[in-house]
Symmetry: C2
Subunit: 319 residues, 2 copies
């Protein structure tokens, strides 16, 4: 048991192409940091939220990191849901990424909160088992507990959610050359609103079949390290067409990514960020630049660009 | 160029669990045989249809083998669609499997017709390229050109149809221990009627997501040779629930397969056949027996049972 721990949990790109709600990957940056200390009084206190999260509640019962932390406290003592808790923690949440960005911001906060509290008490809960606690936080933010941000942020890599009930996570292979360009244009998309948009519709079988073919080919490509097939499989006929209008300039952005040689490009999470893939750092940088330029030229939006490999570590304790 | 060729094309199980219209595999038996001879008069003549195909037309323009054969003749001479053809063939079609069974009967006939004619003229068209010709026949039988029977019957193995436009086929790994039990109860399901049933509906996103998670896990399991995960991923929330009532006793059959240790069980094609998987010949035989008994006890139906490995050869020339 330490007196004080600091944990970094990375951003993540979810809804990878055909893999709505089931495929996500961890980024190397940005990410959130949670510091945790134990305190005498039981329960979770959020001392401060700094960084990009000024609008977030410090009420622990309404904060994703606070909710995830409380769930870990509950499990540490084998308690049923809800208070009263026996142990107490103080949390400091440093938001190092924008909200409502499609970067898995709430998921990263929830993961950092869950891991920090578990580490504070000697890490008795196995890493994989913390997904459930982080999901308690994530569900509060998005309205539904989807694991394709939380799982990669916690575990690293490219994670498949085979099933939600029971929760089954599968680590997919990460080809060594794979690079991600993640571009966040400066506008906001509400996750809850984006989810309503897709949940209220019904879908044609042909479109589901198209996604089934593509996600199967995507997994096959990861196993064989075939980045061209991987990129060709980043196609979404179910959700992207419904949400595309939420992201200004998306058609131009995708065309620009393609022209710059990207292996696939689509909406990250519920947007407005987009991800694209490449086979080298230099190519990923070119793709990121092309996407940034397209957001500026076609939608008048400035962007942040993150380029790097898939983060295979996931959440890490800093000190 | 030979004067006379005989080609066997195997039955296939399609719509593998979550993989409606995109995943199929070839069986070792049953299958169809087509004999071909060249003739002076251009065009395709079907001399005789024997075996289980008494009801099939010998009019080549209405017979799947005849249509596939005519498409190969057309391509051999670089002709556009439709007559007049330059070369001529006589075909004998031996149906060695029941129609409307869910075993890919029309697909096997189409494949055998296409391969036989190509072989007769020295096999100038590459094996993979014959899928398109076989699909011309298959489309006539089912109303839509779906490739998940034709492709495995032609190529062998477990084949993924990533996309139909353009047609892209991917060979998936076949774990060495994998065994299939295919059980055909003696009743009929019309492919066209079954397809209308599913095509006329719309689908909930949650059900599509469930199939996406399962097909991704299924492909991952094939690459890792994990038969337990493979079996757990044989779940279909899109099509099986809509078609289940077409197959008498299906719920009992699936329960019996599970009890006998099957790694997954679902409808083959549009039924009434069902497939199940096992990890050894003995286990597959037990599973096949359990399914046969369940069809008899719960629906009063006798069945044919086929047990064996996945056929990795596909269509073969016999002489």
């Amino acid at each position: 048991m330490g007196d004080h721990v600091r944990v970094f949990a990375p951003a993540s790109a979810s809804n990878l192409g055909p893999g709505f709600d089931v495929l996500g990957l961890a980024l190397t940056e940005p990410g959130d940091v949670v510091e945790a200390e134990s305190r005498e009084a039981p329960g979770v206190e959020i001392v401060e939220v700094t960084g990009d999260g000024g609008a977030l509640p410090t009420d622990a019962a309404r904060n994703v990191a606070g909710l995830a932390a409380a769930d870990v406290l509950r499990r540490l003592d084998g308690l049923d849901a809800g208070p009263p808790l026996r142990r107490g923690v103080k949390l400091w949440l440093q938001k190092r990424m924008p909200l409502a960005s499609g970067l898995g911001s709430s998921g990263a906060s929830a993961v950092a909160g869950a891991v920090a509290v578990n580490e504070l008490f000697g890490a008795p809960i196995a890493r994989r088992e913390l997904v459930a606690s982080a999901l308690v936080g994530e569900a509060a933010a998005s309205g539904t507990p989807h694991a394709d941000n939380v799982a990669p942020s916690l575990l690293g890599g490219i994670v498949l959610v085979r099933s939600y009930d029971p929760l089954e996570l599968i680590d997919l292979p990460v080809p060594a050359a794979l690079r991600v360009a993640l571009v966040h244009p400066h506008c906001e998309v509400s996750t809850a609103a984006a989810r309503r948009l897709t949940a209220e519709r019904s879908y044609a079988l042909d479109d589901a079949v198209a996604n089934l073919g593509n996600i199967a080919a995507l997994v096959d490509a990861l196993h064989r390290g075939d980045l061209v097939q991987f990129g060709r499989s980043i196609q979404d006929r179910l959700v992207e067409p419904v949400r595309a209008h939420l992201i200004p300039g998306l058609a131009d952005v995708k065309a620009a990514a393609r022209s710059a040689g990207a292996f696939g490009c689509s909406i990250s999470g519920s947007g407005p960020s987009v991800f694209a893939f490449a086979g080298s750092d230099a190519d990923a940088a070119s793709v990121g630049d092309a996407i940034r330029k397209a957001f500026r030229d076609s939608a008048g939006l400035e962007s942040d660009v993150y380029v790097g490999p898939v983060n295979t570590e996931g959440a890490v304790r800093l000190d």
